[in-house]
Symmetry: C2
Subunit: 422 residues, 2 copies
């Protein structure tokens, strides 16, 4: 059994999570962790902790040799990067929940923790209280992961649940999410899928040893979801969920993207409602596994941060085993097809020629949709993908590897009416 280390913490940020951590640590002396100093922005705010704990000077924490752990809980990713990288260089271990920072700077941060022989832990950054990173690191490191498929953003899931269950339109649902504290005043990061793709980027590093720029991964959010889409989902008995996905193809490369997806009732993700998160992991041996819990919020985030702090007592660090082991490392594929549902106002909104195959075409005054097969690269580069008149939703089992589908092109539906509708 390993020995325990005393943890002396320098805390950046005293928002809901920071304050939560402070309070729990006070109540659990068994953790042998104390907060020595807290760096904040605005010294005039009233705070429920002794005034002498607070400072506005980074260096009071970073230059303090007694402080051996920095807990970084500020929202600004740029400042967070300065803090985290400086702390690592100064041989302090770091716990962070800042997915944007991590996704953007992972290679450098891995390098720094190795060089300085310290730990950088960030369980709270992905799916809040769900211990997904730890499990990928520890438990699935030897098993052959086939796919990870998750609802990793609570705000968008809350909005999609409201659209489904209360017949709200996107704007009404967003407003309700904001009023209830499940969405930010500026929700762009969440609703445009950027938060989800940051998380997927982190998952790819741990699950497959893939380091990539989140911007390189096809991602879209939920801003374009229409009530007509919701009605069709109801008719088809599927749920629309924003899914971050990484699936191993037959060539051992990984297909990864963040897109809205039709989820059937057979999937455990079907029942993930409101602000909850859930991840289905498929592997050769353990088959299907599902992890479910709260993805954000004061206590779930505190819970993950505390687990990381606790792990530091035992000098725990991520091994990035797949990254370090060339045999297990995978790479991303851009050569696969997606079967998607696309709805739009007018046929001129999309380019039918982008599709290799159309299976279903439905026209009604005001809204049309089709389902069809499109190459990943074509979709990623399509102008119409970012058009808010166009809603793209991946069909169940929507990843298609077999290029034979291309041959099906000749059997595509070609409605005579389509021309007229353009």
């Amino acid at each position: 059994m390993s020995s325990q280390k005393k943890i002396v913490i320098g805390l950046f940020g005293f928002g809901v999570v920071g304050e939560g951590i402070y309070k729990v640590l006070q109540k659990t002396p068994a953790l042998q962790a104390r907060i020595k100093k807290i760096c904040i922005k605005d010294p005039s705010k009233k705070r429920d902790a002794p005034a002498e704990l607070f400072t506005t000077d980074y260096n009071d924490l970073l230059e303090d040799e007694e402080i051996n752990v920095i807990v970084e809980l500020i929202s600004n990713a740029k400042e967070a990067y300065t803090i985290v990288s400086t702390a690592l260089i100064k041989n302090k271990s770091v716990v962070s929940a800042n997915k944007k920072l991590i996704a953007a700077h992972l290679p450098r941060l891995i390098e720094l923790q190795r060089k300085h022989n310290v730990s950088f832990l960030y369980e709270a950054a992905v799916c809040g209280s769900i211990p997904i990173i730890r499990n990928l690191e520890e438990y699935y490191d030897n098993d052959l992961l086939q796919s990870i498929c998750g609802i990793v953003n609570g705000s968008t899931n809350y909005i999609l649940t409201k659209i489904r269950e209360e017949n709200l339109d996107y704007q009404q649902a967003l407003l309700q999410a904001q009023q209830r504290g499940f969405a930010e005043a500026d929700p762009a990061l969440d609703v445009e899928g950027k938060d989800a793709v940051n998380k997927l980027t982190i998952l790819l590093a741990h699950a497959h040893g893939i380091i990539t720029d989140p911007n390189e991964i096809l991602h879209r959010g939920i801003t374009q979801i229409q009530n007509t889409d919701a009605i069709i989902a109801l008719e088809k008995n599927v749920q629309i969920k924003l899914i971050a996905q990484a699936k191993k193809l037959a060539n051992n490369k990984i297909a990864a993207f963040v897109l809205p997806q039709f989820v059937t009732i057979e999937s455990q993700l079907y029942n993930v409602r409101n602000e909850f998160n859930g991840v289905v992991i498929e592997s050769s041996l353990s088959d299907k596994q599902f992890l479910y819990g709260k993805g954000a919020g004061r206590y779930p985030t505190s819970s993950a941060v505390l687990s990381d702090i606790s792990a530091l007592r035992y000098n725990y660090s991520y091994e990035y085993r797949k990254l370090n082991n060339p045999e297990n490392r995978n790479e991303l594929s851009t050569d696969f097809y997606l079967k998607i549902y696309v709805s739009f106002k007018a046929w001129s909104d999309i380019d039918l020629n982008d599709f290799d195959f159309t299976e279903e075409i439905y026209c009604q005054r005001g809204r049309q949709y089709l389902t069809g097969v499109i190459h990943y690269e074509k979709l990623k580069n399509a102008d119409w993908l970012s058009d808010n008149n166009v809603s793209v939703i991946v069909c169940p089992d929507g990843i298609i590897e077999n290029t034979d589908t291309v041959k099906l092109k000749s059997t595509s539906l070609q409605l005579p009416g389509v021309e007229v509708l353009v």
Copy 2:
């Protein structure tokens, strides 16, 4: 980052799991683990591995100094104990999936691994592929666990699913489970709840630092479940599930038992079907979490065993942090009440006086039931609990701490007809 150790394995047992491990290790040289010797019972059986690997002599493995890890996968718990304890004494780490062995001998096995500074890992013993022990050890060690509530036995869950979904009676469903390989030829350990209570015993050690004899914990299986119970569950829109449960009471003690339970649709356990397992963990910070996956079978068990072998490369061992930390250690309570549904053939099958309060009484020719509140100890010691004419199912939120319920006694239903029916 810690250094990796080369693993040389002595394997006991070459059944489906043993053979699975052998094959996977051959295919994954990256694991740096090889099987040097395999001890089997019957040397005449044809096996798909080189003959020189096999022996029938324990000592060929236990006395081999190069072998540093024993993987124990035999069914006989007595022999397994001899093997495991001898291996630990000989400074070899051990991986086992034998819940009966572990539940029965945990204190001694913890002592041995400490004394000899080796590891004893057994993730496969509880919920197969679901990494529940690792998560309780690593992730929830600092969070305040409120309750663990799980479907931990795949055979009984398969049978209950068939009773529910195909209107089979218990015997028919059992037969089908046996034919499909989801239940043993001798299903007693599973269907009588003994397997589940062994697993609960192991969970209690990791979740709450409680070491107890499994026989001390109230447990019953599913042999007594009647079709009439299944019909009532359907009417009430609940599922009957065999639940292993450990819940923290207001006095910080733990209520623990294994009993069939009515599970409402709000619970994640409602949708755990067939041979799958699922565990809901509630804690102060992370709120509700749910882990789901296959609880048994060749590959899920292999997956967990391989994770343990892989962890040994990094000298991983369970810390039993709650056991070692008196402040976090809890104890079992026997002083609480349960709200239960009880069905029976005749009123003489049970003793109404055992109940502090009856809420519902239903009589029909051939089968009657009541719902009522009973003290845990009364139920545990009731003769009628082991009567196969009597079916006991815990109601949703069935743990009642408040002894005020006793005062409600005077308001109990007292049907005049009850006397007549005796």
